[in-house]
Symmetry: C2
Subunit: 351 residues, 2 copies
Amino acid sequence: MTLLDQTRAAVTPVDRAAAARAQDRLDRKTTPRGSLGRLEELACRLAAVYGTADPLLPARAVVVMAADHGVAEEGVSAYPQEVTAQMVKNFLTGGAAINVLARQQGARVVVVDMGTKCPVALPQVRDGRLGPGTANFVLGPAMSRETAVRALEIGIGLAGELAAEGVGLLGVGDMGIGNTTASSAITAVLTGQTAARVTGRGTGIDEGRLRRKVDAVERALRLNRPDPADPLDVLAKVGGFEIASLAGVILGAAAHRVPVLLDGFITGAAALAAVGLCPAARDYLVASHRSVEPGHEAVLAHLGLRPLFDLDLRLGEGTGAVLAMNLAEAALRILREMTTFEAAGVTDAGA
Amino acid sequence: MTLLDQTRAAVTPVDRAAAARAQDRLDRKTTPRGSLGRLEELACRLAAVYGTADPLLPARAVVVMAADHGVAEEGVSAYPQEVTAQMVKNFLTGGAAINVLARQQGARVVVVDMGTKCPVALPQVRDGRLGPGTANFVLGPAMSRETAVRALEIGIGLAGELAAEGVGLLGVGDMGIGNTTASSAITAVLTGQTAARVTGRGTGIDEGRLRRKVDAVERALRLNRPDPADPLDVLAKVGGFEIASLAGVILGAAAHRVPVLLDGFITGAAALAAVGLCPAARDYLVASHRSVEPGHEAVLAHLGLRPLFDLDLRLGEGTGAVLAMNLAEAALRILREMTTFEAAGVTDAGA
């Protein structure tokens, strides 16, 4: 049995009884029932994942998976591929958006080079390299099925390591010039939407490039014919190293009962694949924000997730995921620290 | 010249040049232009308020104004009036939702008794009492015009004190059984909407009580005929002690160039009155969340504010306002701590 198969088998349903006990605790707090809205929902979701109505405040980390994409040759991005490795270096110096926001939220940033065009080769970056980027999937599969499995298992291994180190709340993020194109292709296949519907402007391309991008996705799907019933086939044919490894992180976290805060469209596409491989993983996911990318809507609808906020973000890197950690903390603190009507001597209308 | 008139005159337009300089700084950061969406907008708004493109992280406080409402006699709430004072005591013991969330966000909680039915009379609560609650505005004005001015000036004085103590980011919150009824009346007058349109279920009333509540607002407006062109008249006739004093806090904060994070519907109604009294105060406001209360939408539209998040909150106390402090901090940190394309050696597409 492979690590991937073991992990899929290890993901158990979340604990709905713990969620119900958490809601019961919340109902006795000094607020009108349900008046904390989605914070209550989030508290119950986390209780279900942790299997207790009294979870501790978890240690936090965000995994940023980086890789390049052969499809960038098709002129689908405003940035050259070199930017992927440049940004990985930027993550290591602490000056990128994800560093600033993770510092604020008390989250450790774990950066993995899954295969940038120019290797970063610095000790602070984890080496998961599967090559100098994927092949251009307009001309053939992005990677072999075996490589897709390796990418997933690297993610699974990392999630297991972080869980063993005590991380109890995991954000996921991405960096990869061209990766919205791959995410659009994955989303089109796994949600059954047209390429035009789920392809957007990524980092900010103009109308001409957008047409080229939609065309690239359409050509890739016609040529490779990824099988919607086989998420591994989809990841191999039109995925990316970082996307497949993010799917692995999600499965690994779920297997260790660690909730995963998704970021935007790319991590959403990874989640589609992960949930395709293991439907029970869905309940371990929290959607942080609604991305500007049009394909994100299809992802969220397919996964049945409603994001916590909509700040018009379209950066990636895990920025939305770490911002949502503050809300996860708020939800857990409400559950743990608030007093009850009875203890406070406040009259409860039971409303 | 009264303190109220002095304060209105002291509110100057925000510094649009500082906002433009902040946007220019953000454009050179290592992200595609505009990709941090509303965090960038928030950073620029704060820069405009502070008058600098390089603001420090401000000290935070949330003011919770509490008072009772004579209109509660009409059976408009699910809770008895005693709950207002009970909740004020709860705020002082640290177990209420606002305490938990303010502690998380590093904000000091300042609780003011503006006139609860049962006086709290504990040293930790500030005494702003103007009586044991307002008069029932279905039978006559809630308070005299002079009392409304006093309430405003108490708020102005408190905002000045906090600004002098170094508070640079101020949340506002409310506690008062019956105060969504007063807020609906204020909103109906100042936005020109019907009572039915801007009256909702508050802490969670049933259909029968909702009809009674709409009827109470309609009767109050017919009897008192508050003048939409005179916000003081509106506050006096159908307002509340805590709502008027919150309007004062907003004006006082604006006069000291301190941005104000609004909470939900009640603080929104206070903001309507404050902006009516001093239109320049509008640009000092940040809408934190979109409340479940239907009248909040009318408030936001009238003020031209778009909330940062929508978490289905309907608690009040300033809970949404303190949650938004985390986003304000994120926006300011992005502005201060992120590196530029040039410094990081990352290729800028200028996209």
